[in-house]
Symmetry: C2
Subunit: 344 residues, 2 copies
């Protein structure tokens, strides 16, 4: 059973999930614990017949929770285009109970929540370039559906959708997939964004993301891609080279409330940005993370849902872990320019 | 010139240091920007005659700032045992000016500060096991001396000493070395520790680190190594497998004020912990980070200097970047037990 533990110095929760040590890793043939090197991509990816996410291998995953598949096809059989299954090695699991940590040195609480995997294609695709807009439309549609499902359960604080691509971004399987984590607490990153954007709103009377959008869509040098309802840009204070954020142009605080039309445009812009990043930094490792308001809030004037794409080219080192400051080496206006130049 | 930029959402500073993109990397023969893989340790480390940190190659570094070398040997020549030189690719540089960021979308300030490299041995040693206690004594002695130097300059907020070992911990050269960064601002990690430990002190009337020490030295299951004045233990809320903290047993808030005797014991315990970690996770990548009170504070009752050793076995992924929560898979009492078992 996973366990949440709290460091009493910084009141920092961490997650202890021993069962995740046993999960397979296509990218690291040797045991993580004993010999973390070499970590290069192996000479050959597993053949599709060995991949648990490929069509025809549905029996290798737990039973599906949701799927996009034609009427008439049976659950857990072939024919699907997107499939949601429980993570076999969940970081969080179990039914809701309130956090129990007491104010002592050894604070802990059960690591309750949910951890699902979204398999983004039935074929063995591993890059955004191999995928088409329909794969991405299905993905964001299913993501919205699963968020709504957990929101309606009523007791969860928030959920996090994210996609890890490549070993340097923490992926352990190459087949295109992403993950949804449901949490019993407000994640610190979201807490900081909510507090900071609220403070900005108090000072300026505006949403900080809306201000960014106004700046970047009217000739700002950081724009990467755009659609009528969606904008992608490299943030001025990028933490990673080629870091890119995707935002709806109209103010929206909750991803689960966005319209089907915006979802379609989001899918297209997301694919466009990922293909550009993959083209620019060959065999790119990157994370895509959806930031959206907590389930227990109504429409917020100060917060704006968005996606963050974090290319993982360099390692965070003692400087970053010691200070909490990120270091990048590529000015974001140059990154945006290099990404815009890519023909897709 | 490096530049500090501030994200207005979270008021998060980041550092943009383009000149660091050009630094050499023994571990990544290909350009970081174009082809980040494979990142395995190369078949052979550079031969010592090519290593800028080896004795005899002093001309390949900038002129030394400080050194431990016998009387009669000339600066920037052979004979030294520990050497401090400016980093050729500084993350921060330049004389002090107050931060200038205004409260707007694009906030920036010059990335002023200093960035020094401590070369820990004249021979081409790459692991703690190859080094002896004298190497570590020299290192912590020089570290304290450099901290005192910058403290006495009077205008810097704090300095961070850290050591990156192995490519997964962000090291770019194998020869044993560490780094000192001098900062014009309070690093967020230290700010959070100061605020959290102050809050703990207000609630309990005690230093949270002293409470940890009392717990761990009296039969707590997390102890890794010990000396009369120094204790090493795996924290209950570890973020990394085998994470280990080293603390002075007596309450001390500022590393630069610690006694020569404590420094000697610290050197021995630090080496002991690193050798254990290297033995347990062969070819370990890890960071060592010194946490100490800001220069502009007097003795603090609520804060306790310490070293954090962070083994870098797994990659942080979308979950960690999206939530701000760390995931570990090895319970710290088991980690401590496995480390204690190592014969050194």
């Amino acid at each position: 059973m996973p366990e949440l533990r709290k460091d009493p110095v910084c009141n920092r929760w961490v997650l202890l999930a021993p069962q995740r040590a046993t999960r397979p890793n296509e990218f690291a043939p040797q045991s993580q614990d004993r010999a973390p090197h070499p970590r290069g991509i192996p000479a050959a990816y597993p053949l599709p017949e060995d991949c648990p996410f490929c069509e025809g291998n549905e029996s290798q995953t737990p039973a599906e929770i949701d799927a996009i598949r034609p009427a008439g096809t049976a659950a857990n059989g072939p024919g699907w285009s997107t499939r949601v299954v429980p993570n076999r090695f969940p970081a969080l699991e179990g039914t809701f109970t309130p956090l129990t940590a007491e104010n002592v040195l050894y604070q802990q609480s059960p690591g309750i929540g949910a951890h699902e995997v979204m398999i983004e294609s039935s074929a063995h695709l591993t890059t955004a370039r191999e995928m088409d807009d329909h794969h991405f439309r299905n993905l964001v549609t299913v993501c919205q559906r699963r968020l709504l499902h957990f929101k309606h359960e009523g007791h969860w604080t928030s959920a996090l959708w994210f996609k890890n691509v490549g070993p340097d971004a923490g992926a352990s399987l190459a087949h295109a997939h992403s993950q949804l984590i449901v949490l019993p607490l407000l994640p610190p990153v979201l807490r900081d964004e909510l507090a900071g954007s609220l403070s900005y709103h108090h000072r300026h009377g505006r949403c900080v993301f809306c201000d960014f959008i106004e700046q970047e869509q009217s000739g700002g040098p950081h724009q990467v891609a755009a659609a009528p309802a969606v904008l992608a840009f490299c943030p001025y204070a990028s933490r990673f080279n080629y870091e890119t954020w995707i935002v709806p142009r109209r103010h929206e605080s909750h991803f689960e409330d966005t319209s089907p039309e915006t979802l379609i445009q989001l899918a297209g812009v997301l694919r466009s940005v990922l293909v550009r990043i993959e083209s620019r930094i060959g065999r790119a490792s990157y994370n895509v993370i959806l930031h959206s308001s907590p389930f227990d809030t109504h429409k917020l004037n100060h917060y704006h849902w968005h996606m963050e794409i974090l290319p993982r080219i360099s390692r965070s080192a003692g400087f970053e872990w010691g200070t909490g400051l990120a270091i990048s080496t590529l000015p974001p206006h140059q990154a945006a320019n290099l990404l815009r130049e890519i023909q897709i």
